[in-house]
């Protein structure tokens, strides 16, 4: 993947940069429903797409947003929808079935924190499906990964999701939107345009495993089996960044914009002589299990930490990767601003550095002042497990 030209950098908010990157990638349809901190992404698509020959619809609900996008995708257009994790919860039925329909959907999650990891990587929908999940650490990387998301979605005829957050949506960075050239992809001969109606060769874009009369139909069971064999093949798209892993005693796994904070803190700790390294999954699915498995085999490695702004979701994958070779400890936590939309107190280099050091020195995690009052207290009737 290579940028084909360079132009002067401009200061641009993340939401606009991601929308522009999508349009550069050929996106010509977007439908969404406003929701903080995703709203500005929708605003920029609404502003930019008409001039690019595209359409942006302010859908009446998230359900309709994903439905409209489904329709646009069925015509072969590059198309996307998005929301926060809350809005994406509403779209989950479509996410499941759109995967069975093999439509190259691109989804933007401008998440409220990192509590949508399960939703993004496991999904809240039914059945066996996976979305390729790309988690940029900043706006500049987001501009690349958005374009990659469209390419991978078409390459595999499988949805891909760009996992952003409040910071990526709202931070301004100096950047230029360069179109990236990817390998050629096959023509979308499966797309409907009406021209084959009445020919006896009309097409059906469907999740149901049915086909037009006379054509081979997989059936529901066959379609599910077909998708099941496709999923492992997509795992070759795994992307990961590592740093200071070779001689590390402590390895921290982090993704998205918090990973950039973690990397900064680790650079400081390295300068102070602490052997700490990091692994940053760029694809959350497929997850870089092998990278973690290999790192856990390192002669000096004693522990792996999972830093994420949730109650601990990615840690499941970190544990699978570590495969019991070294202990895996959770060093993140739920952290947003009071509204639940924005940046919380753990996303602070000083706080993160203290947590990394505590992990590294096998000490208890520092308490975040003010957070302890929100802890759940065990009720007497809950003390014993029911047998």
């Amino acid at each position: 993947m290579t940028a084909t030209q360079t132009s002067p950098r401009v200061l641009m908010e993340g939401s606009e940069a991601l929308a522009r990157a999508a349009i550069v990638a050929g996106c010509r349809f977007f439908a969404g429903y406003p929701m903080t901190p995703f709203t500005e992404v929708l605003e920029h698509f609404a502003k930019l797409l008409p001039d690019a020959g595209g359409v942006c619809i302010n859908a009446e609900s998230e359900l309709e947003a994903v439905g409209m996008t489904w329709g646009a995708l069925s015509t072969g257009a590059r198309a996307a929808t998005g929301s926060t994790g809350q809005g994406l919860s509403l779209m989950q039925e479509s996410f499941s079935e759109i995967t069975l329909a093999e439509l190259p959907l691109v989804v933007f999650n401008m998440a409220r924190g990192q509590q949508d990891y399960y939703q993004a990587t496991r999904g809240g929908g039914h059945g066996d499906y996976r979305h390729i999940v790309l988690a940029p650490q900043d706006v500049t990387e987001g501009v690349e990964l958005v374009q990659l998301a469209f390419h991978l979605a078409d390459k595999w005829r499988n949805p891909s999701l760009v996992y952003g957050d409040y910071l990526i949506a709202h931070t301004q960075e100096a950047l230029s939107i360069e179109p990236i050239s990817f390998p050629d992809l096959p023509a979308k001969d499966w797309a409907v345009d009406g021209t084959l109606s009445g020919s006896g060769e009309s097409r059906a874009v469907t999740p149901l495993g049915v086909s037009k009369f006379g054509q081979r139909a997989l059936g529901q069971e066959g379609k599910a089996q077909y998708i099941a064999t496709k999923l492992p093949l997509m795992e070759r798209e795994v992307r990961v960044e590592t740093g200071f892993v070779d001689d590390a005693e402590t390895i921290v796994v982090a993704f998205g914009s918090p990973a950039k904070f973690v990397k900064y803190a680790i650079n400081q700790l390295r300068a102070a002589g602490h052997r700490i390294g990091y692994i940053r999954p760029i694809t959350l699915w497929p997850f870089p299990y092998e990278t973690i498995t290999d790192a856990a085999k390192g002669a000096r490695v004693r522990r792996i930490g999972s830093f994420e702004l949730s109650a601990g979701q990615m840690i499941d994958d970190v544990r699978i990767g570590a495969a019991g070779q070294v202990p895996v400890q959770f060093i993140g936590g739920v952290s947003t601003d009071h509204s639940g939309f924005g940046v919380g107190r753990i996303l602070d280099v000083d706080v993160i550095r203290e947590r990394l050091l505590a992990l590294h020195e096998d000490r208890a995690l520092p308490v975040i002042p003010g957070y302890e009052v929100n802890s759940y207290t065990l009720e007497p009737h809950q003390a014993e497990a029911t047998r």
């Binding site: 309709e64 439905g67 409209m68 996008t69 489904w70 329709g71 646009a72 020919s199 059906a204 006379g214």
Partner: protein
Amino acid sequence: MTTTTPPPGPVLDTAHAPSVAARMVEAKKPDLLLTQEHHMCPGCGEPVAIRQFLETITQLDAVERAIGVAGIGCYTSFSGTMDVDLVQALHGRAPSVATGVKRMLPDALVFTLQGDGDMVNEGLQEVIHTAARGENVTCILLNNGVFGETGGHMTATTVLGQRTKNSIDGRDAEYHGYPILIGDLIAQLQGAAYVARGSVHNAGSVARTQKMFKRAFESQLAGEGFSFVEVLTMCPTGWFIPTAEGPDYMTETLGEVHIMGELKVDGKVHTTDELHAQNVQKQREVEEALAQGGLEKDHQRPI
């Protein structure tokens, strides 16, 4: 217990070939069906309605720009047998999918095929918003007042007193609420250009419904905005009645509440009362014409 021998049936003379060649069912198949076979129950009205709009697409010479979006119901099995480029939507979601298709392909003739459970229960907001946006698509509703595919359960269009598996003593307004007259509702929306409710319970209604499809598609092709054709269809299985009683049951129950006629033409909304008066008047004219010995002139009348 004694058994009786059934009376002998008519005896066919098979000693020589018939004087008129047999007509295969295939010969009566609309051009836009890949097979004459279907999986609907005997007495179902859906295949008749589907035939009407498929023939209309052919008559309008709009075949090679036709794209269907199917909902989920009994009629979904036609998504594989209609020779039309097709997108299969989720239950209730066809109008938004059709919106995406149409916005990318403005010259296509885009229609949805939905049932009352799909459109009026699960996806009510979809069709309402699509109509309100004046989305230039045609939504087709096959309304039989029950979830036929699940075996006869109450939908939002089930009329008061109608027995279903979950309104076993008849739909009771106090307990189950009132039916939604979706065509009437949509006609009120500014974005709706053409709204009509037909049926397929007899030959006259079939012909009348086909004209509604024609006007709806013509409206779309002229870019006038949202068009909507609701077709009352028989579901003897889901109504728990003998097959042959379907048409009469339909006119006496659904047909008395979901009044047939053109609910909106050229921006003018016609109320249920107006349509009912029109239908009564038309019925009187037909009876008078019959009394005078013929209906030929009636065939030339617009609907």
